[in-house]
């Protein structure tokens, strides 16, 4: 499992180089062929037993920000890349730009509020890198620089907490599948794509190049299994195995692939759950649109994704890996 290393690398959408380099270095000697494409995707190939092609895809990017302005007082204004709840960013450490300049997202002291204040938008949220004047900052930071949450991952007994589990969890599964040195049924393309969070962008070009017969997207997904959320609104529950998606925003997953994945789980007594909500889209939609490929999403259920502190269950990770490790040796039917 590579989650700790992977999540501790900064790689917001459009700035995935370091993640790509890490993955490439770890897998390049274990696959038949590997390439980086124009947009920044990393595609590794393993020969199968038939000429039909299976695409396994996970996205390398994470939600974050770019610098949108340098203010007169030396603070940085930011705009989000991907969907981030502004309430989750206060009092967090961030890293700015290629030089990884550390900063913090400050918050108005509670002492100076008449009542608790509503957070309306990122316009009111600034990054402080310890400067007091615009001129000081302009020497180190420019508009358009990336801003990522600082590394914070911890592996606990049974759980993992930290940033960017979405979707380094999926990347780690693909890397583990490569490490397992499985002889896949199909010609298999392990595709690590860019810019999922900003509109499912990398997976289109990846799918175009691979032109797969089947695609499985490995994601981390939402849950809602907490005391504040009604039980009947949950999308998944942690500890209950990989989530297989029947349909989500913009794409009804391929029926044959869905039934196939469920069958493999049942036959091998791997716990699984069917995702109960359709909110949120994935690269499965983009792949299906780009090449008309039947696609399916299998996810590690997660809590609090798209925030600097998300959580997943290690058993779920292991069962997701187990399901996929068997699935890729079989013919889809």
């Amino acid at each position: 499992m590579y989650i700790k290393e992977l999540t501790n690398i900064d790689g917001v959408s459009g700035f995935e180089e370091k993640v790509r380099e890490f993955i490439k270095e770890k897998i390049q000697d274990k696959v038949d062929h590997i390439k980086e494409d124009t947009i920044g995707n990393l595609i590794a190939f393993k020969k199968g037993q038939t000429d039909k092609r299976l695409m396994l895809s996970a996205h390398m990017d994470e939600v974050g920000f770019i610098v949108s302005n340098i203010e007169e007082d030396g603070k940085l204004s930011i705009i989000p890349l991907g969907s981030i709840d502004p309430r989750t960013v206060f009092g967090k450490k961030v890293l700015v730009g290629e030089k990884q300049i550390p900063g913090v997202i400050g918050s108005k002291p509670i002492h100076l509020m008449d009542s608790l204040e509503k957070v309306t938008s990122f316009e009111n949220i600034k990054v402080d890198i310890g400067a007091t004047k615009k001129q000081e900052v302009e020497l180190k930071v420019k508009i358009g620089d990336s801003v990522s949450f600082a590394p914070n991952t911890m592996i606990h007994q049974g759980w993992i907490s930290g940033k960017a589990l979405d979707d380094r969890g999926g990347c780690s599964i693909l890397m583990d599948l490569i490490d397992l040195n499985i002889n896949p049924y199909y010609d298999t393309y392990f595709s690590f794509v860019v810019q999922e969070e900003t509109g499912l962008r990398g997976s289109g070009p990846a799918s175009f190049q691979i032109n797969p017969d089947f695609a499985i997207v490995i994601e981390t997904t939402t849950s809602g299994d907490n005391p504040e959320f009604p039980e009947d609104r949950r999308s998944t529950e942690l500890g209950k195995g990989p989530a297989i998606t029947p349909a989500h925003r913009g794409y009804v997953n391929d029926e044959k692939l869905f039934n196939f994945a469920v069958k493999i789980a049942l036959e091998n007594q791997i716990p699984y759950q069917i995702k109960r909500r359709t909110v949120g889209g994935t690269d499965a939609q983009r792949i299906a649109i780009t090449t008309g490929t039947p696609a399916l999403v299998i996810s590690i259920p997660s809590r609090y994704i798209h925030s600097p502190m998300s959580v997943l269950n290690i058993k779920d990770y292991e069962n997701t890996l187990k399901l996929l490790s068997i699935l890729i040796t079989k013919e889809v039917k």
Binding site: D73, S83, I84, D85, R87, T88, V89, F90, G91, K92, K93, P102, G103, V104, I105, G106, S107, K108, P109, I110, H111, L112, M113, L116, E117, K118, V119, D128, I129, G130, A131, T132, E136, N152, M154, H156, Q157, W159, I160, S161, T222, S223, G224, N226, P227, E228, F229, R233, S235, R277, V279, G280, R303, Y304, I305, H306, S307, P308, M309, V311
Partner: protein, 335 residues
């Protein structure tokens, strides 16, 4: 004295109100390395460091505790509810990892925020209170009990060249200023009898500093705390970081000593700023002033950004200038 490193170490130590032992022990170790000091801890847990000198009894106070959380309720699974002491905006604890100080060591929990995908319009627009938040204990849940305290887990670091950021800089920045003053005083013949008090329990409102003042009976008490810097406050002068210590004027401040302190700053070219306080300063000053038959009090503050959040920010130069002001004041006997 490496004030930068000492401050970061102090920031990373955990000492919520009533549980300051590790912080006090570390401060004592640092103080005892400074020649001509005598340190002792009283029965409540406050540390007093004495420096020899002759003249008025001047006591300097800095509280060593920090804001924190109490585990208040267990929900299903590993979910718990928490509440705060010390005044914390619920917004700044969302998506934070907390260290829970259990009887069997440190456990970890995160304050989870439901994914934006699943949020209803109502939740998206809601101003969240502690009643809406929960702690998801991801490590050592079996050791967590109602009543255990928790603190932020943020680690201090250098923010640019001039600033340090981390938790509990309120009021460890003042603790460092006092330690640095202790060191600087070695260059002087001291014409007062100074006591440096690192007190406990300010944030929970108990003010053990006042208990120490009661026993010590000083001729003058100077309280060191932090104040809001670099933020616009209607009807208040703008207090800025990097512009030196902040001297409070107000009902809790002794007029005569205030003028002496201000003159001392000017004489020694210590930059300073003036901040008015109304009925209360919300520091130990308020309590010390009315101890026994009344004790003359002064309040000197270090300006700080983002008070009571996991990453408070202070300017090291402000700590140094504060120490320089206090050193000169004490050395000449507060006259």
């Amino acid at each position: 004295m490496e004030i930068n490193e000492i401050l970061k170490t102090l920031s990373n130590l955990n000492g919520p109100s009533g549980y300051e032992e590790k912080v006090i022990t570390y401060i004592k170790e640092v103080a005892e390395k400074i020649p001509n000091t005598e340190a002792s801890i009283d029965k409540q847990g406050s540390l007093m460091v004495k420096k020899s000198g002759q003249g008025k009894k001047i006591a300097l106070f800095a509280h060593a505790d920090e804001i924190g959380f109490v585990i208040t309720k267990k929900e299903f699974g590993n979910y718990y509810r928490i509440h705060t002491f010390g005044g914390i905006d619920p917004k700044v604890i969302i998506s934070q990892r907390l260290k829970i100080h259990t009887k069997n060591g440190t456990s970890y929990g995160v304050i989870g925020m439901l994914e934006p995908h699943l949020q209803t319009e109502e939740l998206k627009n809601k101003v969240l209170s502690f009643d809406d938040l929960f702690l998801d204990v991801v490590e050592g849940a079996e050791n967590v009990n109602i009543g255990d305290l928790a603190t932020f887990s943020s680690e201090a670091f250098d923010l640019g060249e001039k600033y340090i950021t981390g938790k509990a800089l309120d009021n460890r920045a003042s603790c460092v200023a006092l330690l640095y003053t202790l060191e600087l005083l070695n260059q002087f013949i001291i014409k007062s009898e100074p006591y440096f008090v690192f007190s406990i329990r300010e944030e929970d409102g108990m003010s053990s500093a006042a208990n120490v003042a009661f026993n010590l009976k000083p001729d003058l008490a100077i309280v060191l705390d932090v104040t809001h810097g670099d933020i616009y406050r209607p009807s208040y002068p703008k207090i800025e970081t990097g512009k030196g210590p902040v001297l409070t004027v107000g009902t809790m401040i002794d007029h005569k000593y205030f003028e002496i302190l201000k003159d001392c700053a000017e004489k020694n070219s210590v930059p300073y700023q003036i901040e008015p306080a109304g009925s209360h300063s919300h520091t130990d000053t308020d309590e010390i002033q009315i101890t026994r038959e009344g004790i003359p009090t002064l309040l000197v503050s270090i300006p700080l950004r983002y008070m009571h959040t996991p990453y408070e920010v202070v300017n090291l130069q402000d700590i140094k200038e504060t120490a320089r002001l206090l050193t000169n004041f004490i050395a000449v006997g507060g006259e």
